[in-house]
């Protein structure tokens, strides 16, 4: 299934993830995110590219309500993140770059705990199935996560996110540090999940090749602003790379 794109059917629908003039300015005047406009409907995987420090992670944290914007608004499924943070978060799952898990618990226990935290308890059998669905077998799922590779942690992180049955999924560089096979498996799983659940997905990544093959649309950020936004369909990898280098290059020029 790698190489297939998630269904673009959601394009044109009301956005599930919506940023309107979203801005975060730090003391001293530096803007980590500057007037960001973004609309991601259900079923769309939006790839956010950009150099380190471009504002990708900050954008995700603003959409999650982990950071408060200086101005602008972030909406998740129509809920204002600043005004109704709990309701907005209820519709939003998150997989960070380094999936944080309790090291003294198994992947299975972590999944069940985070599901319970979100008031969506999950049975042992359902949790095993959920983990199997993201490519983690029962034997591995029962091991303490301190022994997990990064790829295995990403799978647990994705399973935790999916167990919440949210309408939006935010992924912060989920492919970084994964070997090609693990990255391939992760994108494969993600595409299948999006197709099945029709989630709105925002994925920050440095991996141009995977972004092109997995995402519906791709945006390139620079200095907190979304400079370019193009459909990934029909775009050759070389074209996207060239666009990326040109956009990022202008920043460093």
């Amino acid at each position: 299934m790698t190489g297939d794109r998630a269904s673009p059917q959601g394009v044109g629908e009301a956005p599930v993830l919506h940023a309107m003039g979203l801005t975060l300015e730090y003391p001293g005047g530096k803007r980590a995110v500057d007037g960001l406009e973004l609309a991601i409907p259900a079923g769309m995987v939006f790839g956010l590219l950009g150099a380190n420090g471009a504002g990708k992670t900050t954008t995700i944290k603003l959409l999650l309500g982990l950071l408060a914007p200086t101005s602008g608004r972030a909406l998740v499924a129509g809920k204002d993140v600043a005004r109704s943070p709990a309701e907005a978060r209820r519709q939003c799952a998150y997989v960070p770059e380094l999936v944080a898990l309790y090291e003294n618990f198994s992947g299975l226990e972590n999944l069940r705990y985070f599901a319970a935290l979100a008031d969506q308890p999950i049975s042992q059998d359902a949790a095993i199935e959920q983990l199997r669905g993201v490519g983690l077998g029962p034997d591995v799922a029962r091991q303490r996560t301190r022994r997990y590779s990064k790829g295995m942690r990403q799978k647990v992180g994705l399973a935790i996110a999916l167990a919440r049955n949210t309408r939006a999924l935010l992924l912060d560089e989920p492919l970084s540090g994964l070997d090609p096979k693990a990255a391939h498996d992760f994108c494969d799983t993600l595409s299948a999940v999006v197709e099945r659940c029709r989630m709105a997905v925002l994925m920050a990544t440095h991996d141009i090749f995977r972004a092109r093959s997995t995402c519906t649309r791709v945006g390139i950020m620079r200095a907190g602003r979304l400079i370019e936004e193009v459909p990934a369909a029909g775009l050759a990898a070389e074209e996207l790379e060239s666009l990326y280098l040109r956009t990022v290059g202008e920043a460093s020029a």
């Binding site: 975060l24 300015e25 730090y26 003391p27 005047g29 980590a32 944290k61 999650l64 309500g65 982990l66 950071l67 408060a68 914007p69 200086t70 943070p85 709990a86 978060r89 209820r90 939003c92 799952a93 998150y94 960070p96 380094l98 999936v99 944080a100 898990l101 309790y102 003294n104 618990f105 705990y113 985070f114 319970a116 935290l117 979100a118 008031d119 935790i160 919440r164």
Partner: protein, 474 residues
Amino acid sequence: MNPITRHEFVNLYRSRTVRSVASVMTVVVMIAALAGLVTQQHQVQERVAASEYARERWLGQGAKNPHGAAHFGTYVFAPVRALSGLAPGLDEAFGTVVRVEAHVRTPLSGRPMASRPSVGPFGWPSAVSLCELLLPLLAIALGHGTFASHDGAGLLDSVRTACVSRVRLAAGKLFGAQLAMLACVGPMLLGAAGLAVAVEPSTTNLVCILGIVLGITAYAWAWTAVSVAISAATERASTSLVLASGLWATTCLLAPQFAAAHAAAEHPMRDDMSFQRAVRDDLDAGMDGHDSQDARLAVLREHVLAEYGVARVEDLPINFDGLAMQAGEVHAAEVYAHHFDAQWDVLAAQERVMDRASVLAPGLALQRWAGALAQTDLAHHRRLAESVEAFRLEWVAALNDALVRGSRTGDWEYRADVELWATVPSFVAPKPAEIGSLMAQAGAGGVVLLGWSIVAGALALGLGVRRLSIRGGR
């Protein structure tokens, strides 16, 4: 149980670091408890044997003038309290034996009372003092990463996005750490308490040891909350660890020493030489039963002669010398009481300084609490010393009375029969204090421990909630 609390508890309990620290601590404290109780039993046997020997020595002294017997003297041995094996308090500082003799009041210890610099710190290492020192380290191991380490690993962001209320999450983390602390120290404390009660079973001992366990638990709670609070206030787990360890070193190692030094400086004890000189000066100012030229003795003599209607002491049907000795003894007792009370008052003033210092160093509050309940604190030693002095006065009065009634004035060759020695009373140790009065004595320490627990808990909760708050830009 709150699932967050349960999860945090299991997470900590599964931690190898926590289990290692807890295991080492349990072994060390249990060894100290066992050694303390064995020593306590040994002391009980030793003092029973010593008391029996002193009594045999007294009874076997042979026919003797009663006043000579009063100078021959005897010995009183301080009773060993059942819980002194766990919390010896000031036992070592005040010693174990008092020589009882006419005209002279000696301190409870073999060492001069005046040489004691201050009331702190308590003896070391006992089970309680080890808990005072080591429990904070376990608390730091448990709590220093609660927020700082989880934030560094991204766990806080993960749980924040799970729509959990900040108060519920912060409370869950705090109570999880507290539960882990309880699981680590509970068996150890109950084990030590069980041993102590088994050694000397009684309701009072049971209540007191449970009180001590409760005090240690409150102390552990306070330190765990402090550790969690520091974790919530610092960015990184390493910073949290350094700060918490620094606080431990300051409050557990330095503060008690500074407090004791400050107490001694603010309320200095009289040195031995000036104490003895002051006592001697006041004794000299009073009646001396051995000095027939003493003017006050003449007044007493006139009074007694008038009472019996005779002109000379030689005509009295009693021994006037015995009356003179007793009158001198009464005066000396007043002088001693004045000076010894002043010394005890200085120690009590020092103890009040230590009580105030315990607001900054909760270990001092634990010492106060445990010492009072184990009856090894200052108040207990003062009560014991005063009861020994009361016994001495009764004992000397009995011997002087025997001299008065058994002989005539000037008959220094008089020898009382050996049967007399058996009629002279033996020392009976004061009964252990009632639970209510022990609780009242322990109150100051208990209030501070409770205060620390509440304030530290509130601080941990408040800082935890703040840590989980959304951070904004400009």
